[in-house]
Symmetry: C2
Subunit: 140 residues, 2 copies
Amino acid sequence: MTDTVGFLLGKLGQQVNVRFAGRLAPLGLRPRHCAVLELLSGGPLAQLELAKAIGVTASVVVDMLDELEQLDAIRRVRDAADRRRQLIELTPTGRELRHQTLSLARQNDEELLAAISPAEAAALRHTLGRIAAATGLIAK
Amino acid sequence: MTDTVGFLLGKLGQQVNVRFAGRLAPLGLRPRHCAVLELLSGGPLAQLELAKAIGVTASVVVDMLDELEQLDAIRRVRDAADRRRQLIELTPTGRELRHQTLSLARQNDEELLAAISPAEAAALRHTLGRIAAATGLIAK
DNA sequence: GGCATATGATTCGGTCGCCGAATGATATGG
DNA sequence: CCATATCATTCGGCGACCGAATCATATGCC
């Protein structure tokens, strides 16, 4: 059991999130917000698009955006072409926050991968990416 | 961000757990119970020992054990040497359940690793184990 | 031996993140 | 112009977890 990849992934993933959350806390962010900032860095998206991409329901997105709006990291803009939709766009503050989270994520990686060789780390990254893509477990 | 190992681990781990939970549901179990069954297969343990090993508080262990007791998978036995402690031991039913969960975990792995070569899978298992050990993220 | 203090299990209340159903506004097709 | 669909939002609830309080038992100290 403890030697299955599934178990290790599950437990490690959980712990990694906790650790990352600790790093993020000073910014007033939690891990889930990072994916949002990341996605928005490619350009504005509607809330339902965000929900799909992240893999949560629309109501969860509302909450996350409320929080990000509080931090002045995003803006909701009514889509002129379809006034039901809110287009979410990054503010300059949001862009700045995204850079910081990126840096924290890399810091996190360094700590996580300190015990293994760079080659092994690269292989790991590659393998995880393959699995994620193959199993469709991470929305692309 | 989405290319950091930490992010991939976190997201994948989460999803893997959800998937595993689905397989487990017919047995009336959830992922967290598996660790308990696994730990107990090595012999009886007190509840606080379980809590430490799993990384949750004592009150959570109480709940989990209540559920496992309901399924007749475990028994609570007062420690004669220290009557405050409950020694938790697997029943025959518990042992059987453990075998089933193990088989499900392996099935889960097969599906997860279908996209990569056996060699790559072995490397992955090895690397994850190293990281878990080095970072102390998984209680041993 | 008797008492203060520590420790194990348990209960209880609260928090957090998530979901699903209901709602209101807007769009779209007949 | 109305029926129906879709987007964002609100609301109630659930499951997993924590921390404080409680009760029984153990242990150290006088």
